[in-house]
């Protein structure tokens, strides 16, 4: 299982790197789509099947298509060097490096270690005791199926945010129409 994870991980990182480095906007868009596919796969590995599907359908499908559409619409000629001057480069890489140095070590966290830090009782603690929700999710997964286990809390506990997102989307649509149309 972990071997498959690493394959997809490498695939995702490689395509992300290429997405940044391609000078042609179209190719970098396509490479981004490929990272999304890699991520979808990883989601499946992490037993979040519904999210994986959504990732592919909504994110890769809709959003990236929108990007491609806009890139095509503007048919930008390939800018030979799309990079910023070297000064911008140095700052960019530098900051990214520092950020990476801070974030990547988080990878060392295993559930057990996380549990120990979170729980106040001394001594090693069983992660399952500290994070009961994880098992409950697994049970729900089994009981209502992959989609059900997500849908059930979505329409009960998180109903209000759900409605708000619909309003947000409405606003976004109107905004996009107003901004993009030449004359109303």
């Amino acid at each position: 299982m972990t071997l498959v994870f690493y394959v997809f991980a490498v695939w995702a990182v490689a395509s992300a790197l290429l997405c940044i480095s391609r000078s042609n906007a179209l190719s970098s868009a396509l490479w981004l789509v490929s990272t999304m596919f890699a991520l979808a796969a990883i989601f499946v590995i992490l037993q979040a099947e519904f999210i994986a599907i959504i990732q592919v359908l909504v994110y890769a499908g809709a959003v990236m298509v929108l990007f491609l559409f806009v890139i095509m619409l503007l048919n930008l000629e390939v800018v030979p060097h799309d990079w910023r001057r070297w000064r911008g480069w140095v700052i960019g890489i530098g900051l990214a490096g520092v950020l990476g140095a801070l974030l990547v070590p988080l990878g060392v966290y295993t559930p057990a270690r996380l549990a120990r830090e979170v729980s106040t009782m001394p001594g090693t603690v069983d992660p399952h005791l500290v994070f009961p929700e994880g098992d409950a999710m697994a049970a729900a997964n089994v009981a209502y199926g992959a989609v059900g286990s997500v849908a059930q809390p979505l329409f009960q506990a998180y109903l209000i945010p759900f409605e708000i997102t619909s309003v947000l989307l409405l606003a976004a649509v109107i905004g996009a129409v107003v901004l993009a149309k030449r004359k109303l």
Partner: protein
């Protein structure tokens, strides 16, 4: 069970996203890098959802809707700017300044 590595992967992707935003001049590519960063965050959400329960996945769900909305509006703005200045080069879109 894969928590550590997926967090590390999410960190790397996030950092690449940040680098992309800082380096690239093309507005749309910068935009895409932002999308990449969002994906990285989604990954860490999902990874931790294993521990913290389904609320992690719901967060991803919401992140995606927000990302979609943001992409739509962002691209509309870029379109409007492009129509005005025939270029998407971020360096010389700097009217909004002190």
């Amino acid at each position: 069970m894969l928590l550590g590595p997926s967090l590390a992967l999410s960190a790397v992707l996030f950092v690449l996203g940040v680098a992309g935003v800082l380096i690239r001049r093309n507005a749309i590519v910068v935009f895409m890098c932002v999308e990449l960063m969002l994906n990285a965050v989604n990954l860490s959400f999902v990874a931790l959802a294993r521990l913290h329960g389904v609320s992690g996945q719901i967060m991803v769900f919401f992140v995606m809707t927000v990302a979609a909305a943001e992409a739509a509006v962002g691209l509309a703005i870029i379109l409007a700017i492009f129509r005005h200045t025939q270029s998407v080069d971020l360096a010389n879109i700097n009217l909004l300044k002190g």
